[in-house]
Amino acid sequence: MIGYIIRRLLTAVIVVIGVAAITFAMLHYVAPSPVYIVLGTKATHRAIEVWNRQHGYDRPEIIQFLSYLNNLIHLNFGYAYKFSQSVSALFKENAGRSAYLSGTALVLSLIIALPLGVVQAVKRNSPGDYAATAVNFTLYSMPSFFLGLILIQVFALDLGWFPPGVSDTVTSTFSAITHVRQLFLPIITLALLNVAAFSRYMRSAALDELAQDYIRLARAKGLSERRVLVRHLLRNASLSTITLIGLSVPSLLAGNLLIEILFNYPGLGLLFYNALTNLDYNVMIAYTLLGAILTVLGNLLADITIAAADPRVRLG
């Protein structure tokens, strides 16, 4: 088990380095140097050259990459020229708020989706199942911002229960937590989107498990349907959903992006959006890397959880 974790960790490190290389190459191609943000687009050719030399942007790409990697190891993500701050400081400030939004939405969606998927599987082809499937499918096919817009229209503008966006009073992570009413719509939007994906998957995982012979044997033992579900089905069906949850960690970040833009919520997504429109090099690369690292971590956690929970994996 420990050997397995070490092996997986090593692979994860290799993947992260690979991702860093690809991200770096790609960004370098899109925006070779942050010089235009600093000096403006009208800067003279000469001034640009001087600035690039001063900040090391004239060196060969491979050297630039290695020095970037070196900084990365020291948790130095470079300087955000547009924001006139170090990227680390910017991220530190915004990460908490994003994590709060994503985390709440994830937990909420799991609480709804997992039981929903199982119930749908058990009562498959009932009117309730059809209705839930229809809603899921529609949500699944909906751009996140459009769902947000609909919710704003209904709950903020028509009913007036919640504010349509997050006000400027939300500055710290703590204030985000205390302004429940303001965060209600963003969290619900994000959660609903995840419910659609999770419950659809959970339903099919539970259906697969329900068709297994051990469910029949459990019934033949005289267990009540409830016990069959709780004692036998739930755990085994959840096992295959763990991978999906692991995979969805980074998509929460991307989902966050649009929701944060829509609701004007000051998190990492909004930061990235602003960096994007200004081509703020170091923020873009750091955000992309963060997404990749979260993916790798999500995968890793999922694999380890499965290894711990499934004796077939644990004991080989």
Binding site: R7, R8, T11, Q212, D213, Y214, R216, L217, A218, R219, A220, K221, G222, L223, S224, R227, R231, H232, R235, N236, L239, A309, D310, P311, R312, L315
Partner: protein, 707 residues
């Protein structure tokens, strides 16, 4: 006789599908007394499993009992409240299923799973339930149960898992045990152990047992009465002796006549039942067997026969038969030939004399010399290190003469399939030689290799996987000729039609896709494909084991006939000794990668020299109650050792009753018992021939042959 523990009367079960209703079980009556075993025999789709599930109310989705009654003593189960029924399930009536791997929850320890019904039905504490679980696991003969309680199902072998499943069923001492194909997924030696466990427990606990199976041999020895089901109906019910010797229903007669038997003369063809079972979404009016019955009359097709006959022996037939079919084959042209001449021998080429490689000095057609095949076991995620190897085939030597049929028999994991792949050249040996006509064909390359492939063709076990689902039958049969560049399109087409006729398929099959055929029909197509290139050798790996009993004999007879007609040598690989004996002149017995015995069908069956062969024969269930009931031994003890780390010396020694020290130290050489008969054992059951020249195995036997 005691009052019946379980009484089913006029039961009808239907399964509602999205677009049709399957009339799975209709008007079924049966009774089982305490301490009695009732056999329920039928092919797949006959409704026998649905009947079992109806009793427990565990029907698949859409299934429901539409009429009749099921009584446990005097409690009616049909229409009972789910709650009450749950109290009976696992407590008064328990069930054992076929597939122990998927029937046990993969993420719960076996101790928990056995204890679960005890806690549920007896309200036992955790501790009490675990004690009880330990007790039952001991009862079913799980070795070292205390340590195994914490194991998970995937850590146990199939046989041990089946014992666990029995333990679950017995944990609450049920009054009725429903065993649905309890041993079908197991090897014969393990099957014998499990059946023994069931027999013992049933007697000790006085349960009423319903034994559901497709295998006439399994029910023959252990049930007092047998019910035969066909297409959702019980067609015959009789005390088992009577059913086997004086059956009245043509289906029972045909079914028993179609099973290849160890003790019978392999030269007699098997009785075949033509066609396929009816589609139960639209069952035919009249007798459901009429379309396949030799005795069917207009009445049979119009009117469904009721169960009639004396109280003990009942059957549903308008034109009943009396006793088993006797097949005598007479050759009309050569009247001097004795009755019972082989079908095969009628065909132009006489079957070759069974002996060492052809006596006229020429080399055998196929020769394997010390063939070794090992599959690496790797570890590591990125860099695959070889840590060990599975010894699939270890130093096997044998030969096959032109036109001869050779059978290879052994349990799963004995390496017979790997050996088959080596012979057709899909895999290459890690050591030794595979020679065809004295040449190592598969060491060739390019065009030479392609031409060489014509000589050896193959038939596969899975009729669903061996035909490309996207090709029409015409293309499937033409492909070998296209690859080999034989004939014009017109010639190829002609040949395809010929072959289709030979395997008994209509011409309209040409434009069809494989999914439109039944399993038996697909196996015929596969056989035709193997014949297209007129190979010298055909390898058939478990050609009938995926087929239903009534379909098997069709394919077996066809294979036997066509092999002789085409003058091919054949190598039939099977776990079923009876099938191998029916098809083969000579038989090789494999155990854990080694060839342990080699001989004619009679050498193997009547004069087995190796204790493994002997035990194997004794454990094979024979569809004859007299033989089965006389059996007392369990056969082979214990489990198959791991092929990664096989026992030293003789690989069978860990399970052999005769094993001594030398068996662990010295690997036994092949010894000769007669010109055709060899076995590798230190303590053979027959007296070997005095000469020791044969000690080097088959090859030297070939060299010193009996010319």
């Amino acid at each position: 006789m005691a009052s019946p523990a379980l009484k089913v009367h006029d039961l009808t079960t239907e399964i509602q599908l999205s677009r049709a209703t399957v009339h799975a079980v209709g008007n079924v009556d049966l009774e089982i007394a305490e301490g009695e075993t009732l056999g329920l025999v039928g092919e797949s789709g006959s409704g026998k499993s649905i009947l079992g599930l109806s009793i427990l109310g565990l029907l698949p989705n859409g299934g429901h009992v539409t009429g009749g009654s099921i009584k446990l003593y005097d409690r009616e189960l049909v229409g009972m409240k789910p709650r009450e029924l749950r109290e009976i399930r696992g407590n008064d009536i328990a069930m054992i299923f076929q597939d122990s791997l998927s029937s046990l929850n993969p993420t719960k320890s076996i101790g928990e799973q056995v204890a679960e019904p005890v806690r549920l039905h007896r309200g036992a504490s955790r501790k009490e339930a675990f004690d009880r679980a330990l007790e039952v696991l001991e009862l079913v003969g799980l070795p070292r149960p205390r340590e195994r309680m914490a194991d998970y199902p995937h850590q146990l072998s199939g046989g041990l898992r089946q014992r666990v499943m029995i333990a679950i069923a017995l944990s609450c001492e049920p009054k009725v045990l429903l065993a649905d194909e309890p041993t079908t997924a197991l090897d014969v030696t393990i099957q014998a152990q499990i059946l023994k466990v069931l027999d013992d427990l049933e007697q000790r606990l006085g349960m009423a047992t319903l034994l559901v199976t497709h295998d006439m041999g399994v029910v023959a020895g252990r049930s007092k009465r047998i019910n035969v089901m066909y297409a959702g109906r019980i067609v015959e019910t009789a005390p088992s002796e009577e059913l086997f010797t004086a059956m009245r229903h043509p289906y029972t007669q045909a079914l028993l006549g179609s099973i290849p038997r160890l003790e019978s003369d392999a030269s007699k063809p098997l009785l075949s039942i033509p066609g396929l079972p009816p589609d139960l979404t639209h069952p035919p009016t009249g007798c459901r067997f009429a379309a396949r019955c030799r005795f069917a009359t207009d009445q049979c097709r119009a009117q469904e026969p009721p169960l009639t006959g004396s109280g003990d022996h009942q059957f549903a037939c308008w034109n009943p038969v009396e006793g088993p079919a006797i097949i005598t084959v007479v050759r009309p042209t050569a009247s001097s030939a004795p009755a019972g001449t082989v079908v095969a021998s009628v065909i132009n080429e006489p079957a070759p004399a069974v002996s060492a490689p052809s006596s006229n000095g020429s080399a055998p057609l196929l020769e394997l010399v010390d063939v070794v095949r090992e599959y690496p076991v790797t570890a590591g995620a990125l860099l695959k290190r070889k840590v060990n190897s599975v010894k699939a085939v270890s130093n096997v030597s044998l030969y096959v003469n032109p036109g001869e049929s050779f059978g290879l028999v052994g349990e799963s994991g004995c390496g017979k399939t790997s050996l088959g792949k080596l012979i057709v050249g899909i895999e290459k040996p890690d050591g030794g030689h595979v020679k065809v006509n004295g040449e190592e064909l598969f060491r060739k390359r390019g065009g030479e290799l392609r031409r060489a492939r014509r000589v050896v063709q193959m038939m596969f076990q899975d009729p669903y996987g061996s035909l490309d689902p996207r090709m029409r039958v015409r293309s499937i049969l033409r492909e070998p000729m296209q690859i080999q560049g034989i004939g014009s399109t017109k010639d190829q087409d002609k040949r395809v039609r010929e072959l289709l006729g030979e395997v008994g398929l209509p011409v309209n099959a040409l434009e069809r896709y494989p999914h439109e055929f039944s399993g038996g029909q697909r196996q015929r197509i596969a056989l035709a494909r193997a014949l297209v290139l007129e190979p010298k050798i055909m390898v058939a790996d478990e050609p009938v084991s995926a087929l239903d009993v009534s379909i098997r004999s069709q394919v077996l007879n066809l294979m036997k006939r066509l092999q002789a007609e085409h003058g091919m040598a054949s190598i039939v690989i099977s776990h079923d000794l009876a099938v191998v004996k029916y098809l083969s002149d000579r038989i090789g017995v494999m155990y854990l990668g080694r060839l342990v015995e080699l001989g004619t069908g009679d050498d193997i069956y009547r004069r087995a020299a190796h204790p493994y062969t002997d035990a194997l024969i004794k454990t094979i269930p024979v569809p004859d109650p007299a033989i089965e009931k006389a059996k007392t031994e369990v056969g082979i003890r214990g489990e198959l050792p791991s092929p990664i780390d096989p026992p030293s010396g003789c690989r069978f020694r860990t399970r052999c009753p005769l094993a001594q020290e030398i068996c662990a130290e010295v690997e036994p050489p092949m010894r000769r018992f007669s010109p055709s008969h060899q076995a590798a054992c230190h303590f053979p059951l027959q007296t070997p021939e005095p000469e020791t020249a044969a000690a080097n195995g088959a090859t030297s036997a070939a060299a010193t042959g009996v010319s």
